[in-house]
Amino acid sequence: MRKKVVLLSILLVLALVFSLTACAPPDVPDEPDVPDVPDVPDEPEEKQLVIRYDMTVELDPAFYTLVEDHARIHQIYNALIQYGVDSLALEPDLAERWEVSEDGKTYTFFLRKGVKWHRDYGEFTAHDVEFSLNRIMDPAVNSPHTPTYSEAIESVQVVDDYTVEVTFVDDNPNHIHLLSTYHGGYMVSKAAVEDLGEGFGENPVGTGPYMFKNWVKDDRLVLQAFPDYFEGKPPIDEVVFLEIPEITVAELALQRGEIDVLLKVQDGDLFKRFIDDPGFYTFAKGGQPVRGIQFDTRTPPLSDVRVRRAIAHLLDLELIVETICGGLGTAAVSHLSPMFDEIPDVTPGLPSYPYDPEKAKKLFEEAGVTNLGKAQITAGGIWPDLFAHLQDQLRNIGVTLEIEQLETATWRDMRSQGQLSMTLFGTGTAPEPNRTLNLFLHSRSVPPGGLNISFYDEVDDLIDAARAERDPQKLSQIYQEIQVKLMEDLPQLPVYNYTFGQVVNNRVVGWNPGSFQANYRIDLVDVE
């Protein structure tokens, strides 16, 4: 009997533990240790938009770097200027207009009046601009953007409450992008940062159409409409950025109506399933970023340009885009997309490498190469299929290639150490071409740490010349020269200009796919 009682007790304890934890609130976000902030008035939950997107890492513009965080940051904050809904043209945001001094170094911004900060932190003024930019440049803040801003901005001067002057170190017209809706350009409230201190990132305060409501790490970020937004309260009352790691589940959730928008779709088959579905509409817009294959040009056999050109001749880019990429993108013609204003639709004299296995075989024979060694890739996305296809094409002409799949963190580590002989590359969206070129193809960006894992240095002078050039026509000419040189030497083989697909439920009206990075204008969206 005693034993039965003990056994029963154990079972009851287990049942009690289960029940107690079952009755716990589903989300127990621990409140960060920050001072009290003014209560956010409860809004009745009416229109809600649920977006499936990647994990939120950072909500403080001084510290965010990942493009996925950009989508959320863009709803909470504004900058002095912004990119257009459908283009990279710069438009007014918190600044109504701006003037440029004769020497091209000083920009005077005339700010909107009556713009309010979230949560009763007062009105946005020039003092907030000064504070925001100085904060980014302050080494003590430890922002990853400090070097970029410190090297470009000479001073920030408050003229009056609604006028501020930003003086750059030189007349490079690209400096103005630093004040746009990108990274450190977003404005923060001086009062809120001083009030919340280190807790600001967990309770962000901006002027944007949506204000912070709740953040459950690894699960969801909830934003609610800001009723006093300077362009009017947005139609949707609550926006939820939901993390759903498994794409199959995300697809089911979309079909069931549990989510409204599926962003960053890389699966072409999934995307195609929704193209003809009358309940949804799709976007595959973009095409500026480039993806392809990168070669370490230091050592044989990849140091031989004939080998790199031979590889280029083995890839039928149109077919690859249609099949492997699932139609999400276009065949790349060079390293710089024509979507950049500086790049013409057609660059004269640009080398191309049409699909020609016979020519590839001849080039390999001339170079005396039958073994390309190892390619190191990550497991996700199109890379396994693309490299397997290349391996197959090589095998058909008697050349061997071994493929090593690495975990992403390991691959990143090896990349930063320059230990990848043949691998993938992909550029992000950039406001102008020089940034991408500097990052991936200038000799000052070689590892350790840099991304020029080709160790290529043949266009350094041209990249530096482009950086200093102010005449748009001459600048375009320089970029065309760079394009031609890169396609001749092929330190990287551009394969396609990619775009992430977006699938949107029909009940969502006015969704815009974003012109730059992830600058979705959710304040222009409504739901039925």
Partner: protein
């Protein structure tokens, strides 16, 4: 018994220290930089990456980091998550209940399905039902739980719409059970197969014993022979298997929580591994280890209670 328990607890503490030291060095020797999971190298300079590494103390020699880690653990401080910038203890406290739910629900299903099926197969040994159960048990033991989970989602949440697709519910008992059922079912499949086969084997072994023959000879009803005499003795090893299955449940929660978009320790650990969030990895491993060892201890104690022949000193 008290001495035995005390000795086991001491062994657990020593084991935990060795395990955590092993994990500490292992994850730091793996390739992968935690800083690169929070900073985009396309946007920041190498100097900034190094500065962040210094700020997080990741540039210090391993032995220094280990010493700081031990001192921190001695104070009960599990450290700060690099990714989430929150104390690891907070993250674990948030997610642990959800994993317990999932594991507990799975164990209940393992017992509800595995034991009766094993009994049926034993009683109907050699017949079609026995063969059917054995085939099912083999399939259940061999089926990957994440694949089964996706199938369940597709059928019950997708096509039929009977059960939720993801999440943990609104906190009420009914909603929690609704949200836990499918993931628990998926997680339990391997345990059901294993428990079913074990129950059948143990029942068959017991049913051939002399005391069962004696019970029948005494004219006892077959029901009493089976469930009062045979089953009670057959369940002793089955309890051990079910207990150790709990450990497998914790491991399986890693994948199931991701598939079913549930918060939990498993998903927290997986994300931490991908991001090389060292403190979170160490903290979750510690919790898993403590839980696993505690369950084993509980099983041993239960075993000794059920079987009077077992005595621990």
């Amino acid at each position: 018994m008290a001495t035995y328990i005390a000795r086991r607890i001491l062994q657990t503490i020593i084991l935990l220290i060795i395990l955590l030291a092993f994990v500490f060095f292992l994850i730091r020797l793996l390739p992968g930089d935690p800083v690169l999971s929070i900073l985009d190298p396309e946007t920041v300079t190498e100097e900034q990456i190094e500065a962040t590494r210094r700020r997080l103390g990741l540039d210090r020699p391993l032995y220094e980091q280990f010493a700081a880690y031990l001192m921190r653990m001695a104070r009960g401080d599990l450290g700060q998550s690099i990714q989430h910038r929150q104390p690891v203890f907070q993250l674990i406290r948030r997610d642990l209940p959800h994993t317990i739910h999932l594991a507990a629900g799975s164990i209940v299903l393992v017992v509800i399905f595995g034991v009766p099926l094993g009994i049926i197969a034993a009683i109907l040994r050699g017949r079609t039902a026995d063969v059917g159960v054995l085939v099912f048990a083999l399939w259940a033991a061999a089926t990957p739980s994440f694949w089964f989970g996706l199938i369940l989602l597709r059928i019950f949440a997708g096509w039929l719409g009977w059960l939720p697709l993801m999440g943990i519910g609104d906190g009420s008992l009914v909603d929690t059970v609704r949200h836990t059922f499918l993931p628990a079912f998926a997680l339990s499949v391997n345990g059901v197969g294993l428990t079913c086969r074990m129950t059948r084997s143990c029942m068959l072994e017991v049913m051939d014993q002399d005391y069962i023959r004696t019970a029948r000879s005494k004219g006892l009803a077959e029901q009493i022979v089976m469930f009062k005499h045979a089953l009670r003795n057959a369940l002793i090893p089955v309890i051990t298997v079910v207990g150790t299955t709990m450990g497998a449940m914790l491991a399986g929660s890693v994948v199931i929580e991701t598939v079913f978009t549930r918060p939990g320790l498993g998903r927290l650990a997986v994300n931490a591994i991908f991001a090389r969030d060292y403190a979170v990895i160490e903290g979750t491993v510690a919790i898993f280890a403590i839980t696993f060892v505690s369950i084993n201890l509980l099983v041993d104690i239960t075993y000794s209670i059920i079987d009077p022949r077992i005595r621990y000193s």
